[in-house]
Amino acid sequence: MTNYEFLFNGDVVASSVEKDGESLKVRLGEKEFEFHSAGNNLFSATINGARHQVAVVKHKGVYYIDIDSVLLEVQEASEVGFSGGAGDRGGEKDKVFAPMPGKIVKIMVEVGDEVEEKQPMVIVEAMKMENQVNSCAKGKVKAINFAPGDQVGTESPIIELELPVEETSR
C-alpha cells in the first residue's frame, strides 16, 4: 500500500494504491477504483461498473488526464503552485490576470473606479482574437500595471483591486 496526497481544484485529496495481480486498486476514502495499464499512457478504469479509457500523463509536476473527454489536471500536493489559468485564480480574486499571453488592446477602467463582479475590465488579443477579461469580484481599482499595446503574460496581474472587508477576510 502506497499513500499519496494530491491537489485537485483547490482541495487536498489523499489516496492509496496497491497492486493486485495485473490490476491496480486505488482507494480514496470509501471508494475504490480498478485500473489496468493499456500502454502508451492509457488505462482501462472501472467506474461504476463500466469500463472507461483514461489517458494520463505526468509532466512537470502536473498530471494531465482525459476521462470521457473531460480534461482534468491534478497536482502533487508538494508541487502546488499556480500554473496559468483565467482571470479567476481561486484565492486571488483581487487581481485580474490575462487568460493567456497576448497584447493588451484596451483597459476599460481607471484607478479609483468601483467595479462589480463580472464587469469587463480588459481586452487582451491573442491568436488574432480579442478576449474580454472580467473582474472576479466587486471592489475598487487599486492599481493598473499595464497599458494598451503592452505584451502581457499570465503571471503578473494586469489590474489589482481593493476588495470590500468581508471579501478579503473570508
Binding site: Y4, F8, D11, V26, F35, V57, K58
Partner: protein, 518 residues
C-alpha cells in the same frame, strides 16, 4: 520479382505527372492534408516553416522543407517574397496555399502568375472580386441571387452606419469587407452599441486583414449556415459538390459541420446548388470554392459570400461524395477538365466534422497553449483524422489555434452522431485544453439530434451548461495515483506497460530543437 517491378513501372508511366513539385504555403493540418494529395498524385511536396514551427509535423512530412523566417505571420507565412523564393529555390512549378494566410490574397495569386508558378486556386481577378464582401454582394444581386439587405458600400462616418442600421432594423451585423473566420464581426442590438462595435470591428479587421473597411447588413436571427462546394475547370465546366451545414458556431466560428443538411430537401438542394453554380460563373470562377448561404427560419436563403479557397470543413463533402477535393484542385490547376465522376455525383450516408482547437471549452473558449504531452488518434471504419500535431509539439499563440479535425462517416445521421461521440472520447490529446467535452454535449443534445441546428444553437442551448469538475475529483486523483505508483516502480527495459511520465519530461534538460527544455 521482375514482373511486379515492371507492373509498377507501367503504373507510374500511365499516371501523368501533373506538376514537377508543389510548394505548400501553409502549416499544420491543412499543409499535411495537401501533401497527402500530392503524394497520391506522385508529386513531391515542399513545406515552408517559421521559427515557431521548426518542430512542427508538417515540416518533416514534406519531401523538402524551407525555413522562411520568424514566427510572426507577416515575417514568414504571409511574406510573399519569401514564399516565392522558396518555390524557386526548390524548383516548384505550383503552389497550394491551403486556407488562411495567403490563400485569398489576390496579390499573391497575381505574383505567382508573373513568376510563371501555377497558383492552385482561382484567378487573382476572381479572388479580388469575391474577397471584397461588398463588391460581391453587388455583383450577385445583379444575377438574381438573393442577398441580405444592408449597405452596398462602406462608409467612414458613423451617421451612414446609423442610417443603414435604422433602415435594416436592429439587430444588425458589422462585418469586415475583407474578412472571414468571425474576425472583425460584431452583432449590434441597439444604437448605443453601434459605435463601439464598429470601432472594435475596424481594429480586429485591421489586425487580421490589414484592411479596416467594415459594412453593415441586417442580422438574420437564428439562421442556418448552409454552403455549397463548387468546382470549376478551365474548360467552362462548373459543378457543385453538394452542401455542408455549418450552423454550430461559437464566436462566429464553426466548430461542428455536417453533410447533408437536414434542413433542405432535394428540390431546394437543386435550386441552391444551381444558384451556387450561377455565383461561380458570374465571377468567372475556377478551381475549388465555397458559396455560403444563410437559410432563415421561413425557408428563404440568402447569398452570404464566396470563400475562394479550400475550406477547413471540406472533408465532410469528401466523405459523402468520395471526391478528393485537393486532388481535383491540382488536376484543375494543371488544366485537366472535370472528370466524368461529376456527371452522376450523389451523396452517400452522413458525415460530421468536429474541429479540435487548442482552446478551453469549459472557460469561454480561451486559447490554450502548452506542450502536447500525449497524443493518440481514434481508429475504425468511417473515422478520419486530419491532424497537424503530434506528441512533444509546442502549441503557441502565434497562429490560428486549430490543431486537428475529426471527421466520421456513417449510413445515417444518427449513427454518425454516435460514431463521433465515440471517436471524440477515443481521441486523446493531453497538455492543452480542447472543447471535446463541449462538443460531445452538443452532439448529445436533443435539439441537435432533432436537426434543430441554427447558428444560435450554442448561445441558446449551451450557455447554462456548467461542467461539474468536482464530480470528477475522485477518478482524477485515482488516475494520478496510478501514474505516481507506476513512476516509482523501476521500469525494466522491454517491459510491457509504461511509466506514463511524458518522454518530454524524462528527457529533461536534453534539447529537442530549442523549444523544450527545463
Amino acid at each position: 520479382m521482375w514482373t511486379s517491378a515492371a507492373h509498377m513501372n507501367v503504373t507510374a508511366n500511365t499516371m501523368e505527372k501533373l506538376f514537377n513539385k508543389i510548394l505548400v504555403a501553409n502549416r499544420s493540418e491543412i499543409a499535411i492534408r495537401v501533401m497527402n494529395a500530392c503524394r497520391t498524385l506522385g508529386i513531391p511536396s515542399v513545406a515552408v516553416y517559421s521559427d515557431a514551427d521548426k518542430n512542427s509535423k508538417h515540416r518533416f512530412y514534406a519531401d523538402e522543407a524551407i525555413h522562411i523566417g520568424p514566427s510572426p505571420p507577416r515575417e514568414s507565412y504571409l511574406h510573399i517574397d519569401k514564399i516565392i523564393n522558396a518555390a524557386k529555390q526548390t524548383g516548384c512549378d505550383a503552389i497550394h496555399p491551403g486556407y488562411g494566410f495567403l490563400a485569398e490574397n489576390p496579390a499573391f495569386a497575381e505574383r505567382c502568375r508573373q513568376e510563371k508558378i501555377t497558383f492552385i486556386g482561382p484567378s487573382p481577378e476572381a479572388i479580388r472580386l469575391l474577397g471584397n464582401k461588398i463588391e460581391s454582394r453587388v455583383k450577385m444581386s445583379g444575377v438574381d441571387v438573393p442577398i441580405i439587405p444592408g449597405m452596398k458600400s462602406s462608409a467612414s462616418d458613423m451617421a451612414t452606419f446609423e442610417q443603414a442600421a435604422e433602415e435594416a432594423g436592429y439587430p444588425v451585423l458589422i462585418k469586415a469587407a475583407g474578412g472571414g473566420g468571425g474576425k472583425g464581426m460584431r452583432v449590434v442590438n441597439s444604437l448605443d452599441e453601434l459605435a463601439p462595435a464598429v470601432e472594435a470591428a475596424r481594429r480586429e479587421a485591421k489586425n487580421a486583414f490589414d484592411d479596416d473597411t467594415v459594412y453593415l447588413e441586417k442580422y438574420i436571427v437564428n439562421p442556418r449556415h448552409i454552403e455549397f462546394q463548387i468546382l470549376a475547370d478551365h474548360h467552362g465546366n462548373t459543378t457543385h459538390v453538394f452542401e455542408r451545414e455549418c450552423s454550430i458556431q461559437r464566436r462566429h466560428q464553426k466548430i461542428i459541420e455536417e453533410s447533408p443538411s437536414v434542413a433542405i430537401n432535394d428540390e431546394l438542394r437543386a435550386r441552391m446548388g444551381a444558384d451556387a453554380v450561377k455565383v461561380a460563373r458570374a465571377a468567372n470562377y475556377t478551381n475549388a470554392g465555397t458559396v455560403e448561404f444563410l437559410f432563415d427560419e421561413s425557408g428563404y436563403y440568402y447569398f452570404l459570400e464566396v470563400n475562394t479557397r479550400l475550406q477547413v470543413e471540406h472533408p465532410v463533402s469528401e466523405l459523402v461524395t468520395g471526391v478528393d477535393l485537393v486532388v481535383e484542385q491540382i488536376r484543375i490547376a494543371a488544366g485537366l477538365p472535370l472528370s466524368d465522376q461529376f456527371k452522376n455525383l450523389t451523396q452517400r450516408g452522413h458525415a460530421i466534422e468536429c474541429r479540435i482547437y487548442a482552446e478551453d471549452g469549459e472557460n469561454n473558449f480561451f486559447p490554450s497553449s502548452g506542450t502536447i504531452v500525449h497524443y493518440s488518434e481514434p481508429v475504425g471504419p468511417g473515422i478520419r483524422v486530419d491532424s497537424g500535431i503530434q506528441a512533444g509539439m509546442e502549441i503557441g499563440i502565434d497562429y490560428d489555434p486549430i490543431m486537428a479535425k475529426l471527421i466520421v462517416h456513417a449510413p445515417t445521421r444518427e449513427l454518425a452522431i454516435a460514431k463521433m461521440i465515440h471517436a471524440l472520447n477515443e481521441y486523446k490529446i493531453l497538455g492543452v485544453k480542447t472543447s471535446k467535452k463541449f462538443m460531445i454535449d452538443i452532439l448529445r443534445h436533443s435539439d441537435f439530434a432533432a436537426g434543430k441546428t441554427y447558428t444560435s444553437f450554442i448561445e441558446n442551448n449551451m450557455s447554462d451548461r456548467q461542467l461539474d469538475i468536482d464530480s470528477y475529483k475522485e477518478i482524477a486523483v485515482a488516475a494520478a495515483t496510478v501514474v505516481s505508483l507506476s513512476a516509482t516502480v523501476p521500469t525494466v527495459k522491454g517491459m510491457k506497460g509504461t511509466t506514463s511520465l511524458s518522454p518530454w519530461e524524462v528527457i529533461g534538460s536534453w534539447q529537442i530543437g530549442d523549444s523544450i527544455h527545463d
